[in-house]
Every structure is written in C-alpha cells, then in structure tokens.
Symmetry: C2
Subunit: 193 residues, 2 copies
C-alpha cells in the first residue's frame, strides 16, 4: 500500500481526471477506447484525453500512465478517479503503480459491490490469471461509503479515506457518482460503436 | 429559408445538442467522427452521441439527421447547435434540410468570420463543387453578434435571431462559446488520433 499523499487544501475547483472505458462486443478481440475527462470541481470540463487498451490485455496501467503523463493537463491534475479497476474486460489497473508512475493519487469507485469470488473464478478462463488476481488483491482494502444517499465502493492509492470522501462529495453535483466519472461514462459509451 | 419555429418559453434547463467533428490528417481519406453532446442549459451534460461522415463527402446532413433521430434524447432536444456548417473538410450541412428532417431548429455558430470567397475558391478543387457551394448559399444570411465580449457569426434555420441570442447567452457559461459547442469540441478533439 502506497503512503497516502496529504492534501493540504482541497479547493472547490480542484482538477480531477475521471476515466472510463468504451463498450465492445462480447468475445471481441483487439482494443477498446478509454476516455479521460478533466473536471474542474463538480461543474466544468477542462479537457478530454484518450488511449486504447487491449481487450482482456495487461497494458491498462502503462497506457493510463502514458495518457496522463503526456497530457497538457497533467500539471493541473490533483487526483485520478477510475470507474473500478478492470477495463476492457479484465485488463486490470495496478492503482499503486499508476500512482507511482503519475505522481497523482488514484481512487477507484464503483456503485456495484465488487464480487471478488466471482472475479477470481472468471479470471481462471484467461491467460496470466494469477498475475491479474494479484493486481486485484494488491489494490488493497475496499471501503464502503454513502454518497448522496447511495452506497459506493472505493479502493485508494496515495490518498486517505477522509480526503477521498471530501473530493467525492465535492464533485458529486448530479447524483451519487462524481461528475468526472459520470461524464467519462457518458462520453465513452456515446462514442462506442 | 425555413419558417422560424416560435419558442413559447425558453427554460433555463433547455436541452441543446452541440455538434463538432474530430481531427483528421490533411489529405486523409475515409471517415471522421462527429460528436453530439446533449447539454441541459449551460451546466450539465445529459448524454453523448456520435456518427461518422466521409471526409470531403456529401453525407453530413443525412448522417447528422439519423444520429439525432435515433437518439433516446431526441424528444427532449429543442435546438441543434453546429460548429459552423462544414465538417470533415468540406462535407457541408444543409441546415434547412436538417431542420426539416429532425423537427429541431438549427443554429450554426463560429467565432471566425466566414470567408465565403476563400471557400468558393477552395471548393473548386473538389468534385460536386457547385452542389457544395449551393448549400453554403442556401444556409442564408450570416448574422454577427457579440457574445460575452467576443464577436460570433451565426446562420439559422427554424429559429429567429432573437430566440437564438437568448439561447446562446443562456448556454455560454464559460466564455464566448455556448457550452454545448465548447464541450463537443473538447470531446471530438480529445478522442481524435
């Protein structure tokens, strides 16, 4: 577990990157688009970036890091929010390594309770299943919090639970999902085939 | 020129679709993505849609109409805002035909002054240049207005200048461009190669 970065102040206009993946057809091969949206607090969009990752591949962490590090928004960003830690099927993000590679704390959030047993079973049908499972275990503790009346589930790298909750609350202006994640989802789905 | 639709009321949360195209390499062939963003007034994103049009093709009007008419947001929409009328190079939208096909008034807005003479000249290098030029002429009068301190240029189909100005002012919460167009541009560029 990475040492949490301490936020000295959390400004209402804090720049947060929300990341989600596009849709793809079941049993598809190849790549899927991943979209990152730069939000200023919970209100305004400052930019959009993208990368492509292999469906069921092992390159998500590296591709996300490179998308973020090469973006002109990198220096303004204070936090990365991921919609869960599995993208493009079972291409799993190592949130601690993403934190180390970008210098930005990482928070993954889902509103469905992660079913680790089902994931462990499903992984067995894929190559490198043990490596993938280790990334899931390595993501660390899953926290359950109530956000705008709904339960959401978090894993954290480089940020304390207290700071994560402040930023989630601040950016959740339109429901139980923070705007960076709600809008990343709308864009990634809206541009998918 | 189509008969302008009269807006009985213009609500602060009026649903407006902003449309812009992605980037492509000069002299590229094939298609380019066009993104539509559903905005609720000037603040919040309700959805994202997309289509693909031929670079320098003649299918923009038809593809835009089909993207809008098949969207689950169609019935909530009150206005379509286009970033100019040429997309994917010189694939020109017939704004009056788009209005007729979707039932939604269409407003095109640019912050660069349209240089019709240069366009007429450039068109001569393309097939169907007369047909394309007719679409530009058919778009009708170009209005010049000041929005948040900057000059912008409009063409209109199915909406009066007075109503257009009210909606432009209402949705321009972050500068001289209405949010639906500013964000459509960020998304379309951000997901381009």
């Amino acid at each position: 577990m990475s040492h949490p970065k301490k936020f000295l102040t959390i400004k209402p206009e804090i720049r947060v990157l929300g990341v989600d993946d596009g849709k793809f057809f079941l049993h598809a091969q190849g790549t899927v688009i991943v979209v990152g949206v730069v939000f200023r607090g919970g209100y305004s969009i400052d930019g959009v970036m993208h990368t492509n990752i292999l469906i069921d591949g092992l390159d998500a962490t590296e591709k996300f890091a490179s998308m973020i590090n090469t973006s002109p928004h990198h220096r303004q960003l204070r936090l990365v929010m991921l919609n869960g830690i599995t993208f493009g099927g079972f291409n799993i993000v190592d949130i601690n390594r993403l934190y180390a590679a970008t210098g930005l704390p990482v928070l993954s959030l889902t509103h469905e309770k992660p079913d680790l047993e089902a994931v462990h079973k499903a992984l067995k049908n894929l190559p490198n299943s043990e490596e993938r499972w280790k990334l899931i275990v390595k993501a660390g503790e899953i926290y359950e919090i109530i956000n705008n009346g709904a339960t959401v589930y978090l894993t954290l790298a480089g940020i304390s639970l207290a700071d994560a909750q402040i930023i989630i609350r601040l950016t959740s202006t339109r429901g139980c999902l923070p705007e960076p994640l709600r809008v990343a989802h709308l864009i990634a789905s809206g541009i998918s085939p």
